[in-house]
């Protein structure tokens, strides 16, 4: 897949219209890599002039900060802001709500001011502008789906509509879980929980959420965060129910329907 890095673009004297911030999960996690590729495919097909930082990208520091390690966060932020400002980056799109939240809300006070959008918002824009066109007989039409709100997209940044609008534009039937939007239940990964064992309790949080998703009996479960995706997939797998829906990222769904 042909994806230019900022370094390559600068070398040829060009500036991208948007930087695609891939994030650690999107870069390294096998499942999340598929989401990354799907989104890059969409960008390519829509003719968006974009670049990635490639090897120059580093963790935003989100999990370190939320675990309480402010030093680590500040070190990562310093490093990333140096690079982003060095390339004179103005606009960033990212497939990870945690990176999104940190870049958008926590970097400005440290000197990193960018126009940051989440990929679901960008996809909604591309669809509205007609830059993405779906095949007439896209496989999603009429299929039922439930959308799991990521905490860092939803409550933290009040982005509830963009991902839903994208699903609606594919003529999918959206069936909401009881706890959705501002009342959405966490998948259990945030606050650096992804990187440690859950504290002892009666149940795992992702199991609880997976049960809610399963109860809607939809064909698919949509997520917009690589961590939610992992947590929900794991939660559904634990029950090993053959009829459980697959968990797909909004970008993967769009990529498959695109002309």
């Amino acid at each position: 897949m042909k994806v230019l890095t900022m370094a390559e673009m600068m070398a040829s004297g060009e500036q991208p219209e948007i930087l695609f911030w891939v994030g650690c999960a999107g870069s390294f996690d096998q499942r999340a890599q598929k989401i990354t590729k799907a989104f890059a495919t969409i960008l390519n097909k829509a003719g968006v002039k974009y670049a990635i930082l490639g090897k120059e990208e580093a963790c935003t520091g989100d999990p370190a900060r939320r675990a309480g390690n402010e030093f680590m966060f500040q070190m990562m932020a310093y490093q990333n802001i140096q690079i982003l400002n060095g390339y004179n980056i103005k606009k960033i799109v990212t497939t990870c709500p945690h990176c999104f939240n940190t870049l958008k809300n926590e970097y400005p006070v440290l000197g990193g001011n960018y126009d940051v959008i989440h990929h679901t918002q960008f996809l909604q824009e591309l669809i509205e502008q007609g830059k993405i066109k779906f095949t007439d007989s896209n496989e999603w039409k009429g299929k039922t789906i439930t959308y799991h709100d990521s905490c860092y997209l939803g409550r933290a940044n009040e982005i509830y509509e963009a991902p839903r609008k994208v699903l609606e534009s594919l003529d999918m039937e959206l069936k909401e879980m009881k706890r959705c939007k501002s009342k959405g239940l966490c998948c259990g990964a945030g606050g650096a929980q992804m990187f440690k064992e859950e504290e002892k309790g009666e149940k795992r949080i992702n199991t609880e959420r997976a049960e809610e998703a399963r109860a809607r009996a939809t064909d698919f479960v949509a997520s917009a965060c690589p961590f939610c995706n992992t947590m929900l997939s794991d939660g559904l797998k634990v029950a090993e129910n053959q009829n459980d829906p697959a968990v797909l990222d909004i970008a993967e769904i769009v990529a498959q329907a695109i002309k």
């Binding site: 897949m1 994806v3 890095t5 891939v22 650690c24 870069s27 390294f28 996690d29 890599q33 990354t36 590729k37 990635i52 090897k55 990208e57 580093a58 963790c59 999990p63 370190a64 900060r65 939320r66 675990a67 309480g68 390690n69 402010e70 030093f71 680590m72 500040q74 070190m75 990562m76 310093y78 939240n101 958008k104 809300n105 926590e106 006070v109 440290l110 905490c151 860092y152 409550r155 933290a156 940044n157 009040e158 009342k183 966490c186 259990g188 945030g190 606050g191 650096a192 990187f195 440690k196 064992e197 859950e198 504290e199 002892k200 309790g201 009666e202 149940k203 949080i205 199991t207 609880e208």
Partner: protein, 424 residues
């Protein structure tokens, strides 16, 4: 007799307001034991929050039935207390319904309104008592509330019912007047008591009512009911940034900056005292005001994913523990002039590591709180102290930190493979 009762009344009144003012100043002092935080920007937006969240109780209306009942209590509480003005003037001057003659029809209208509200307040209180003690709603029977907090909630409701009943009884026994609700009890009273006894009933109800109000006023500062006062400043000082934003630590930002660019470091830079909060006084004053504002309704804990899956964490308990701790510190200072260490800290003795570790920072607690309290902010401050001051992190987190430091990702992958997905 007349003059003596006026003097007694005046003294009781002065004493009640005096003790109340003193206690409120003590609480103000306790809140200001917290660290400074500048929260005065965008006054327009802040007043908007006061009107929507505190005055308008916007978030309460997520649960409409409860919201209406709560609104009745709240409006009743404020409006019926207008009557307090007349009661105090009557008490001091030894008059009887001093405003009734001059206000005429308006007076009857006002008292009728108060009586309707009093009846509605009584009904709302009964419903609330049933919800707490008969229906036993999950958030009201949780172990957070064991002991005093559960009694506190019931006392408030019972006192309100008593006050409203005394107000109505006082009006019923006074057959010189006739008001919408109380007049219905008058025939029963006149049938059972003679003129002299009726006067005694009226006087007794009047005295018990006003003494009850003074008692309740002075009970407020010790109770969860303090939220009727603090909800307003709390809404004003609520954060205006998206709730996903953790507040910055400029001390650490500068340390990192000076490490990276030593030429920027000032020659006499003082090292910061400590990072995060181990003790309640290391939290910001807003965190402490949050703690005093909390009405222990438990909407936060109800929405908490950790709590609802059986983990030890309860955001409500975080707030209650913080209030308990700062109260203890404040009392300690009141007795000893300066804080004399008592061998305890907020972190560990009031809030345990296990609770802190269970938080997913999902913001559900912050979202649910009707009066903009952030348990999450306190959790993060305590986590900061735990990790940066005490190096107390689970092994998996330490690995995550070292991966970020060495590989620039929370997992142990080679940074060179960051763009490997483009080649696969």
């Amino acid at each position: 007799m007349g003059l003596i009762s006026e003097i007694i009344f005046t003294l009781i009144t002065l004493l009640s307001f005096g003790i109340f003012a003193q206690k409120i100043l003590r609480i103000r002092h306790s809140i200001l034991l917290g660290k400074t935080a500048e929260l005065n920007d965008h006054p327009g937006q802040r007043w908007r929050n006061v009107i929507l969240l505190a005055l308008g109780q916007k978030k309460m209306f997520q649960k409409p039935i409860v919201a209406v009942l709560h609104l009745i209590l709240y409006i009743g509480f404020i409006i019926i207390n207008i009557e307090l003005l007349e009661i105090i003037v009557d008490g001091v001057l030894g008059t009887h319904r001093i405003f009734s003659a001059s206000m005429g029809g308006l007076y009857t209208f006002l008292i009728n309104t108060f009586e309707i509200l009093a009846l509605l307040v009584t009904i709302a209180c009964v419903v609330f008592l049933i919800r707490r003690n008969v229906i036993k709603l999950k958030r009201f029977i949780s172990k957070d509330l064991e002991g005093w907090p559960r009694s506190d909630a019931n006392y408030i409701l019972i006192i309100e019912i008593l006050l409203m009943s005394l107000f109505l009884l006082m009006n019923s026994a006074d057959h010189e007047v006739s008001f919408m609700i109380s007049k219905n009890f008058t025939p029963w009273l006149t049938a059972n008591f003679d003129e002299e006894q009726l006067l005694l009933v009226e006087k007794t109800a009047w005295w018990l009512h006003i003494i009850g109000i003074y008692t309740f006023m002075n009970y407020l500062p010790y109770s969860k009911h303090l939220h009727i006062v603090l909800a307003f400043p709390n809404a004003y000082y609520a954060p205006l940034v998206p709730s996903g934003t953790l507040h910055n630590m400029p001390d650490i930002q500068n340390e990192v900056l000076y490490a990276m660019q030593p030429e920027l470091a000032p020659a006499n830079a003082a090292a910061p005292e400590s990072f995060g909060a181990k003790e309640a006084t290391e939290l910001s004053w807003k965190n402490l005001m949050d703690a005093y504002s909390c009405s222990e309704c438990g909407r936060c804990t109800d929405a908490c994913p950790a709590n609802s899956t059986g983990k030890l964490l309860s955001p409500r308990k975080i707030m209650m523990a913080t209030r308990d701790r700062i109260e203890t510190i404040s009392k300690n200072i009141a007795v000893n002039k300066v804080f004399v260490p008592d061998g305890k800290t907020l972190l560990h003795d009031y809030i345990t590591v296990e609770e802190l570790r269970a938080c997913t920072t999902c913001n559900a607690c912050v979202q649910e709180c009707p009066i903009s309290i952030s348990p999450l902010d306190i959790i993060i401050e305590l986590r900061r102290s735990l990790v940066m001051e005490q190096s107390n992190a689970p092994q998996e987190w330490n690995s995550m930190f070292s991966n970020i430091e060495n590989n620039f990702a929370p997992w142990k992958f080679s940074p060179d493979d960051r763009d490997a997905w483009t080649k696969a």
